[in-house]
Symmetry: C2
DNA sequence: TATTGTTATACTCTATAACTATA
DNA sequence: TATAGTTATAGAGTATAACAATA
């Protein structure tokens, strides 16, 4: 008999929706949205490139969803697909110089967008929230 | 090592996605999903009915999205639309007896679904999470 | 046989614009 | 003029199934 405003699942999806929307609005200035941005971040942070399978796992997406995201970034010259030297099935997605350059600006914009909602919490509270959510999200393996 | 794993916005949308999916899977047994379920809850908790405009505000949706949700529940005889005595533009959405009956089972199922992810936190931690999210979500007015 | 990337498809969600009937 | 509900539409997100190349 708990009212909706106390429902953790509802609060979670509401908070997520607001933060994603605010972040998308900030990223619009450089023609990015949250999903492609997160792909760019992962590509930048893996020097030798990251396979689409690993990309999908890191983002919690199905590999089939990753294709269009990489296509979009590759079409803009922000990442490129390179065949893996170890396994010819695998394509390694790596950031280009332009991609790395844009990533810095993107990170600033994304941060500013998120703060429109999350700035209501102190730094300590944000850290608490981060720890709690990390445990909710963690793979129980 | 993943930098995204420290991003609060990413964690939020990931956690929300997992909880919503688990809840939808649980609710599938009675042919409901999270959104229609939340409408049913609000209809049940407002004895005299709630206007679609207030429903939209409470759920953070556009009024146009509420129409199909109410249609679906009304089509199953779980809620009904009644004209407001005060304003003939307004329709009050109220739960039927069948709606109230199903709501109890639905709440059990939704709770069980959410616990598949949120049960990793103690009750105290869940309360902390609830308070933090409530502040992120709150209207700053 | 199993896995990586891919295509295809369908359904849900989100976001707007515009219309109607009331106020 | 403004508001409540509605219709319509388009784009983004989610979920599966199946296929080709490779392991």
């Amino acid at each position: 008999m708990s009212p909706l405003a106390d429902d953790l699942g509802f609060l979670l999806s509401r908070a997520s929706g607001l933060v994603v929307r605010a972040t998308n609005e900030s990223l619009a200035e450089i023609g990015l949205r949250v999903r492609p941005y997160s792909v760019l971040v992962l590509a930048c942070d893996h020097e030798g490139g990251i396979s689409q399978r690993d990309l999908a796992a890191a983002l919690g997406l199905d590999p089939s969803q990753v294709v269009a995201l990489v296509d979009e970034l590759a079409g803009r010259g922000l990442v490129r697909r390179a065949p893996s030297p170890d396994d010819r099935r695998t394509k390694l997605v790596a950031a280009t110089a332009r991609g790395r350059e844009l990533r810095e600006r993107a990170a600033q914009l994304a941060g500013a967008g998120g703060r429109r909602q999350l700035g209501r919490l102190t730094a300590a509270e944000q850290a608490t929230l981060r720890d709690l959510l990390a445990r909710v999200v963690a793979d129980p393996a």
